[in-house]
């Protein structure tokens, strides 16, 4: 598969950019990092984009990140220790002018405490066009979804491997931007072996929605990402980048690894039963157009 990214407009809207790129046959890479985790985190976000990420997901750190594993817990504590606040990070995002759409991932108490409208407005003002709040399931999320929609922010909902079919369909109907498919039952973090649930969830949800379906949690290597995107529209990769950043990686190194993921998913074969629309459109473009090499 190719990455005809040059055919895509310059919009920074998460929903339209992901949909256009998906429709052009490009596999999607959503790259996560925790806002404020290191002084140069904004450079890291640029590097992830330069390496070929289609969107950047910035974590607004929370004191009690219950769906995150040790790496992102660590990053959250580092960020909080450095005095990171939602408002301060949104301000940094606004000034960063990141090349691709930016989504925010955070826990509900930070949204609730700010107020739905105020938080959605602050996100929109910072140019953030997507929001993932993993501890806010379908039943509790209606007021936040309405506030986000009114501000032009796509409220992304999650589906888990254990989510029953009808419920998954309803979540897909209510999600905006993309559907975040949890690749496994567990917290964020790297896994040596890709869970079998991660391999099937993409095509399962592809039959329920025409939103892009991105699989996250436990997608740790370019090889795993390639495997996942043979059935899904894209991947969300977080802990692999965050661990490197904690360990002192340079922006150049981060860009190279992002490019490794990019070229791996560019080579993914579409699964035979991947029903999500548009793959055929993207046959243009020849060999992977990831412009940054694979390091």
């Amino acid at each position: 598969m190719s990455s005809p990214v040059s055919q895509v407009g310059t919009s920074h809207d998460l929903a339209s950019v992901l949909r256009e790129r998906r429709d052009l046959g490009r596999k999607l890479l959503v790259a996560y990092l925790t806002g404020g985790m290191v002084p140069g985190w904004v450079e890291m976000a640029h590097a992830l984009a330069a390496g070929g990420a289609d969107a950047i997901e910035v974590g607004l750190p929370f004191s009690d990140p219950m769906i995150d594993g040790p790496v992102i817990q660590r990053a959250s504590l580092l960020a909080l220790g450095r005095g990171a606040t939602p408002a301060g990070l949104l301000e940094e995002i606004a000034q960063a002018r990141i090349e691709v759409p930016v989504a925010v991932m955070t826990y509900y108490n930070l949204v609730f405490r700010a107020g739905h409208e105020r938080m959605a407005g602050a996100m929109a003002a910072a140019g953030v066009t997507g929001a993932i709040v993993p501890d806010l399931p379908l039943e509790e999320s209606a007021p936040w979804r309405a506030a986000a929609a009114a501000a032009g922010v796509s409220a992304v909902l999650l589906v888990a491997p254990v989510t029953p079919e009808e419920r998954a369909a309803e979540i897909c109907r209510q999600s905006r931007g993309f559907v975040y498919a949890a690749g496994l039952m567990g917290v964020t973090g790297e896994r040596e072996v890709l869970a079998s649930s991660a391999q099937v969830v993409g095509s399962r949800l592809g039959r329920l929605t025409d939103l892009p379906v991105c699989v996250g949690i436990g997608v740790s290597t370019p090889e795993q990402a390639r495997s996942v995107t043979s059935g899904a529209d894209g991947v969300v990769v977080g802990s692999a980048f965050v661990r490197m950043i904690i360990d002192g990686a340079t922006p150049e190194e981060i860009e190279r690894v992002s490019a490794d993921f990019r070229s791996a998913i560019d080579e993914a074969d579409d699964g035979a039963d991947d029903g999500a629309g548009g793959q055929e459109i993207g046959e243009a473009g020849g060999a992977g157009s990831a412009p940054y090499g694979d390091g």
Binding site: I67, N109, R113, D135
Partner: protein, 424 residues
């Protein structure tokens, strides 16, 4: 009277508090648990089995004790509901036996739990041993130091105690870690939550499993008081399970209900509404919503939140909530030991401290007060000794030898007042 302390709404709300704020991965498990508990609680067979176990194994009913010397000292009539006399030394077993029975009904072979003081962990380990189930207890590293004896107790009972070394290394971090483990093992594992907190159905289920405390106490009081109820019913509140169970028995009575938090963990007095650990309730938090750490002399009350039904009872005015300071608690702890020959746990010593402070003022002279003595003080004796007398190093040779083994796994005992050493 409308259903004070009745069932929550279908979405798990008591008034505006409660709900189910969990990752999607846990929603089906919460739904399954809700259905299983609803069915079990409507099943006479389940009740019969539970009652049999709570009686023949758990030591129920626990008595209500009339405190003659304490009453004389305070000028009011004090009754104690003696959960300290239940097996494992606290009310925690009521909840755990119920949840273990339920887990077995649901085909789950493994229990996980969080614990602060260790009492809920010990109770869960006990039930797991009784039912032949696997058991992992998550406990903050700091709490493991403060409550080393309970760690050893859990291990003796066959449980694995997993230290939680992130964040404040206390109860709130242990809850996070237990939830994380549950997400990964929900197929085979029941999360045996220890208080009336967390996502629906836990606040409701745990209150129902603890209402035996209040139901028994009400009948026992009526017998003692010639058919009437006490004027006041007072219980300590960490997450709020012993208080919720007690209040459930008296919600329809005329008694004034009082919940007493620790001064350093007083979510209802010092907190604001918010969401953590799956529930919408009052929480200690900063202005952007980061959860604060609680600090008190009692690990069991070191929790920055409170069960959502208590938030509702406070909002509706049916119960009132206050807090007690560490100093008041120590004084009450000693007073009960000296006047009644009962060494309470530090948690219910908060409830006693409130009664001592308010006797003759808010509580009029001669009024009758029921206090739920939620647990016995054995687990706290070493800590209180260190606070009152300085570190254990002062002990003579013979005693030091006796305590040596325990001390080797209890580094915090080197500190005169470990609670005061915590960093924010």
């Amino acid at each position: 009277m409308t259903a004070v302390m009745g069932e929550p709404s279908q979405a798990g709300y008591f008034g505006s508090f409660g709900g189910r704020f969990v990752p999607e991965a846990l929603v089906p498990a919460c739904m399954e648990l809700e259905a299983a508990f609803s069915a079990a609680w409507a099943d006479a067979g389940f009740h019969a089995e539970l009652d049999l176990l709570l009686g023949s194994y758990g030591g129920r009913p626990t008595p209500v004790t009339e405190c003659r010397r304490l009453s004389e000292r305070l000028g009011i009539r004090v009754l104690l509901k003696r959960e300290d006399l239940a097996h494992t030394g606290s009310h925690k077993l009521n909840n755990v036996v119920g949840q273990a029975l339920l887990a077995r009904r649901m085909g789950k072979q493994r229990l996980i739990a969080e614990t602060g003081a260790g009492q809920h962990g010990v109770a869960t380990a006990t039930a797991a041993a009784l039912f032949g189930m696997g058991c992992v207890v998550f406990m903050g590293g700091l709490d493991m130091e403060r409550q080393a004896l309970n760690v050893f107790r859990m291990e003796l009972l066959g449980a694995e105690v997993r230290p939680v070394e992130v964040g404040s290394r206390t109860l709130k971090d242990a809850v996070n870690e237990a939830l994380r483990e549950w997400v990964a093992t929900v197929d085979s594992t029941h999360y045996c939550l220890g208080s009336v907190m967390g996502p629906h159905p836990y606040p409701w289920m745990v209150r129902e499993l603890q209402r035996v405390v209040g139901d028994e106490a009400r009948a026992q009081c009526r017998e003692l008081l010639g058919g009437s109820d006490p004027d006041w019913v007072v219980a300590c509140v960490g997450g709020g399970s012993n208080a919720a169970g007690t209040f459930a028995g008296f919600a329809g009575s005329g008694a004034a209900l009082v919940g007493v938090e620790a001064a350093g963990g007083a979510a209802l007095s010092h907190g604001a509404p918010g969401v953590v650990h799956g529930m919408y309730s009052y929480l200690l938090q900063d202005e952007v919503g980061q959860i604060s750490e609680a600090h008190s002399i009692s690990a069991g009350l070191d929790y920055p939140g409170v069960g959502p039904e208590h938030a509702h009872l406070a909002a509706s005015g049916r119960a009132r909530y206050d807090f007690a300071t560490d100093e008041e608690v120590l004084a009450a702890f000693r007073m009960l030991a000296e006047t009644e020959g009962i060494i309470p746990a530090l948690e219910p010593a908060h409830a006693l401290a409130w009664v001592v402070r308010n006797a003759g003022t808010t509580i009029p002279e001669g009024a009758c007060v029921l206090v739920t003595l939620s647990g016995r003080g054995d687990k706290d004796v070493a800590q209180v000794r260190d606070i009152l007398r300085g570190p254990a190093g002062q002990l003579g040779d013979g005693q030091a030898g006796q305590l040596g083994e325990v001390r080797s796994v209890r580094p915090a005992e080197q500190e005169p007042a470990p609670r005061a050493e915590q960093e924010r």
